[in-house]
């Protein structure tokens, strides 16, 4: 299962990088494979492992803020493993060249 998520406080700083960095520490410690992009982080794993991680990040950001916005987009396809790399490879094959990640 792949999940992309984005977590940030509302009504706090305009710059969000310190909150993203705090989440990234927890993501890294989780041991789940992940890729970051300019709008969120994509992780791969089981439902329970991913949701435990997202809860941890959400609660960490909520600790010293009043309101937190979290969005999660899940793509769950049976029998697929290593989707983090294989989805992009499959598109690159069809496009006929490497794409900028």
């Amino acid at each position: 299962m792949l999940a992309e998520f984005t977590i940030f406080p509302i009504g706090k700083d305009v710059s969000l990088s310190k909150y993203v960095a705090r989440s990234l520490k927890l993501i890294d410690e989780s041991g789940l494979p992940y890729r970051i992009n300019p709008m969120g982080t994509v992780v791969e794993g089981s439902w329970d492992d991913i949701m435990e991680l997202i809860k941890k990040c959400h609660m960490a950001i909520l600790e010293d803020t009043e309101r937190v916005s979290t969005s999660v987009k899940i793509d769950d396809r049976k029998g697929i493993t290593n989707a983090l790399d294989s989805k992009i490879k499959s598109v690159e094959e069809k496009v006929g060249r490497e794409l900028r990640k």
Copy 2:
């Protein structure tokens, strides 16, 4: 905490209402307060209660389909209860009239 979610199979039927109906049964049984809209369902509750429910719905749709797309948008604001109604009321007060739900 409020969460809006949408769950549907990819590569199966064009019409999705039977899958939405299946989710709605589980949402109803959960006892959590909810409102449906043309693009998803909004529920109110704790992180654990809401995520257990969304997992149940996701797994039910995945049972007889191959790929499922699930998106969740969370709005978590400290010290707020009954946000399901109070958020809209607060906007209606500022707009000065009732709005179509």
Copy 3:
């Protein structure tokens, strides 16, 4: 075509109702049919009409704020009109009773 959208400033107020109210004025003036819910607004119309409206709302919120987050979810199904009501009706028929909106 149906589109649900949510627009709010980042790094400004914790309460967002005044920004939602500002958007709602523009939505109302657009003449497009819409329904509000606790997490966003769903409108029905053509791609161009809907996107012109969302741009107007986004730019209005950006006027006196530094950073704006806007999300749009589109459901475009050929040959369907009045989806704003018919999607929910179709689910209610399958569930066998009226649902809370």
Copy 4:
């Protein structure tokens, strides 16, 4: 302005890579800077340029399918250019090392 978007048909193939490849051709031709990730594509540009591109991709996928789901997440911050790279760099500085993209 940054926008991440995802476009796919509902009720058609389980595999979506050929649709993603079709969008990528149009994204490439647009000349806008972009990065792909396993869950979507992030582009940088003005509101009008980005929305014209997303419309083009959406309409291309709709051509030979019956129903299309499109989601767009916008992050618009005043006075920021080259956000495609600078957002990740700013997080990497705070984390203290390079992150997997």
